[in-house]
């Protein structure tokens, strides 16, 4: 079976995000790019299945700009077999639907994919749309926020995190799209051997033009006027764990801020 894992290269969570002065987007200079943390759970889940059944082939699908190379190499070093990289300088400006259409076509062009795994959302655009959209395009079921995964051969029992600790267990065909979240597994670190091996693994680079994409109308949603959060805080401070300070805080919350 071929398992497709869709990954996105994103700025590290510890990175400070700076804007282009014209507000047209973020300034990627001096930012470290990594695999979006939730996507690592998808890679790990595919590798865990491969650990059980060596005939499974784990394919990385990544749509992104040239900053994505590092993330793809990391995924191969973790143990994925090969990668399909759809390179596009404008990738970051595409909306969720466009990304889903591009990944869908890349997966169709590959053929015989038996399962799709990815993270519950990329931590840059925070949309969480691609899994459901891709599943609809494939006419497969989808399960999002998957925090436990039990492979049963033809089917999968996938636990979905709902609100406030509630959970649902879904029984779906293994040919489904799964969007993974924390709790499902602990992603492995690439070993030195893995890093060396990754250098020889096939990394197929494509452009959107190489895909058999008939739908030319890609992005529906555009983004503009990027801005930093600007909320000024008043920073009123009290020193010491005293009853007076606690009372002053509560009075401020009640009478000044009017929030309790």
């Amino acid at each position: 079976m071929k398992i497709a894992v869709c990954i996105k290269s994103v700025p590290d969570t510890t990175a400070n995000i700076n804007m282009h002065p014209e507000g047209t987007g973020i300034d990627p200079a001096s930012v470290k790019f990594v695999i979006s943390p939730y996507d690592e759970y998808g890679i790990e889940q595919a590798l865990l299945l491969k650990d059980q059944d060596a005939s499974i082939e784990v394919l990385i699908f990544c749509y992104g700009n040239d900053k994505s190379q590092e993330a793809i190499k990391t995924a191969l070093a973790m143990g994925a077999d090969r990668a399909i990289f759809i390179k596009d300088d404008q990738a970051w400006h595409k909306d969720g639907l466009a990304i889903a259409k591009i990944l869908h076509q890349a997966i169709l062009d590959e053929g015989d994919v038996g399962m799709v795994l990815m993270g519950r959302q990329a931590i840059d655009t925070d949309r969480g749309q691609v899994a459901g959209m891709l599943a609809e395009k494939l006419s497969w079921p989808h399960v999002t926020s998957v925090s436990a995964f039990e492979f049963k051969g033809d089917s999968v029992l996938a636990t979905r995190d709902v609100d406030a600790g509630a959970k649902e267990v879904w029984n779906v065909p293994s040919q489904s799209v799964f969007a993974c979240t924390k709790g499902i597994n602990t992603p492995r670190y690439p070993s030195l051997k893995g890093i060396m091996a990754a250098k020889k693994k096939p990394l197929l680079e494509k452009t959107i033009g190489d895909l058999n994409l008939v739908d030319a109308n890609l992005s529906e949603i555009q983004l503009s006027n990027f801005e930093k959060p600007s909320q000024e805080r008043q920073k009123k401070m009290w020193e010491g764990a005293t009853q007076d300070n606690v009372d002053a805080l509560i009075t401020a919350l009640r009478e000044e801020a009017k929030v309790i």
Binding site: T13, D126, V169, E220, L223, Q231, V259
Partner: protein, 325 residues
Amino acid sequence: MKSLLVYVDYKQGGVKSTSIELLGQAHRLANALGLDVHAVTLGSKADATALQAYGVKKVYTCNDPQLDTYHPECYVDVWAQAIAQDQPMALFASSSASSKDALPRLAARLDWGMISDGVETHVEGKVVKVKRALYSGKCFAWANAQEGRPFVATFRPNVFEAFDGFKQSAPEVVSISLSQAPSKDWVCVKQHASQSDKPDLSEAGIVVSAGRSIKSADNFQIVDALAQTMGAAVGASRAAVDAGYAPHSMQVGQTGKVVNPRLYFAFGISGAIQHLAGMRASRVIVAVNTDPEAPIFEHTDYGIVGDMFEIIPMMTSALKKLLND
């Protein structure tokens, strides 16, 4: 395109407050655009007549009890039928576990763009622009569909002011039936209800969070006690979750939940970028930390430099007295 269509969610006994909030914002936009507000509802609790208090002109409703348990295919089916009849400018929904799960599927079926987790809206000519966070709130941008192109948008709870201009009107009710039974090989086989009766983090009006210096899972009891006095939800920093003091479902931050309550308490949380990303949209932020240099104090309205193990119980008893009177 004569309407804005709002997906209205119900709880026991009526319309969910998040849906009322969104209906209000839909009216503000509809007034500016010269449109009507229509609604789509589903499940046996969905009571179309309850919507007459919210100025809804037309309600598409499917009362099939099969919809009482969530299934993305069935939800998409109802929404798609309502949209096919209504031809709205956009479908709006509150962000929730089910809308996040099923609406992308609907958008792909309709070939519509989707805007997730909006926090603000703005009308420019005939185009609705929606402000949303990126990088969990490290930056914001305005999203919009091209003029004349319909779209799906979800909005975070607690972001819009209450609307007091609702006009009473009995809505026209259009009944919808499921076009197919739920699939037999895509089924929810088990549901685990939430272990706690605490409010959900992403919808709560007040959130009380603690960091790693809480030192143990048991110590969260004092945080719970404080939260209870205000009906608040309880959160935790990633450090506290990684140390095993709280489950991931409680994590506030870039790789956890993003919250925007009217009041946020950070106890013993230093204020890593990761955490700030998840809570900086809160209206009022309070921090308590023993370190006066903790970065969290740069992002707070009110702060006390001191030990949370002393301060939390003092606050709990003061608030108990105050809020019970």
